[in-house]
Symmetry: C2
Subunit: 175 residues, 2 copies
């Protein structure tokens, strides 16, 4: 069983710009294309866990829902998943430990943890096993941070690093 982060970030570790925008991610060819192994990664996970912010950003994109795996939306404030997405996503509540246990018990063993606050709370709980971080060559200078405060340092092992599209450094870390 493992919890994994797969995310694109700026050199200064922002995952959205000051206006919450993601356009800078598409300024370069999309890092979430096959050449970065995203399809293979998605195939390897059993479910996604994300916060309300990430879920609402995804809803705002319009178009086709991007995920074929079950999505669990961690939220205390959201009361229901919008009708058209009720077969794609469901609400979940609890601490990172409780959420991980609930989902593992249901047979979802490999969880894709997404969104800044969600990732931060799972890191703080020591519940991130792998991180695949794709770093674009830009300093955004502000925005939504990928990482937050931690009580104590967390060391990882580098599994692999590779260059994507001539400009993105994708590094795979494991606890």
């Amino acid at each position: 069983m493992s919890n994994i982060v797969f995310i694109g970030t700026s050199l200064d570790n922002y995952i959205a710009d000051k206006q919450g925008g993601l356009e800078w991610l598409t300024t370069l060819p999309n890092p979430e294309q096959d050449d970065c192994g995203f399809a293979a990664f998605m195939d390897s996970v059993d479910a996604l866990v994300m916060g309300r912010n990430t879920f609402e950003t995804l809803c705002g994109f319009g178009g086709e829902w991007p995920y074929s795996k079950p999505v669990f939306v961690l939220s205390r404030s959201l009361h229901a998943i919008p009708e058209p997405l009720q077969d794609k996503a469901q609400l979940i509540q609890g601490s990172p430990e409780e959420v991980t246990r609930q989902l593992n018990d249901k047979g979802f063993r490999r969880l894709y943890i997404d969104g800044g606050q969600t990732i931060q709370s799972f890191l703080e709980a020591g519940l991130i096993d792998e991180m695949i971080i794709s770093r674009l060559p830009v300093l955004l200078g502000g925005g939504t941070p990928l990482f937050g405060e931690l009580a104590s340092p967390l060391w990882f092992q580098l599994v692999e690093t590779k260059l994507l599209l001539g400009s993105i450094v994708m590094s795979h870390y494991r606890r």
Copy 2:
């Protein structure tokens, strides 16, 4: 003429830990060894520019002074360089533009810009031309940040990325 950053950082972009310590940098074999090209890099620069904090940290290490190139210490509060280092370092004042102009006028054309606050003020002034960043596989969760707020995004080009010592990702960026 160019201003260059060469620095080791954590995955969450801290250059010193919460206590100001650098021990985490030496937990792994020292990234400032020849295999990371630091000696060749030092040969290529004409002078160093650093803030008071970085200078005082270096002074605190004791032992031999690590740099053969002239060091300029950016400080308004420091009144004099300690006696034993007066042939190694000198004080300088002014904005990043003024400091760059002063030093370029004296024939120091390739400047190694060091220290968090100094790097941030030069980035904000658009006066960093290259960054060579060596990222260790650790989340420190707090400390001295490498990057700060910027009025607008700064895009770089990736020149090269390589793996050092099996665990450090060293990436070279150019504006």
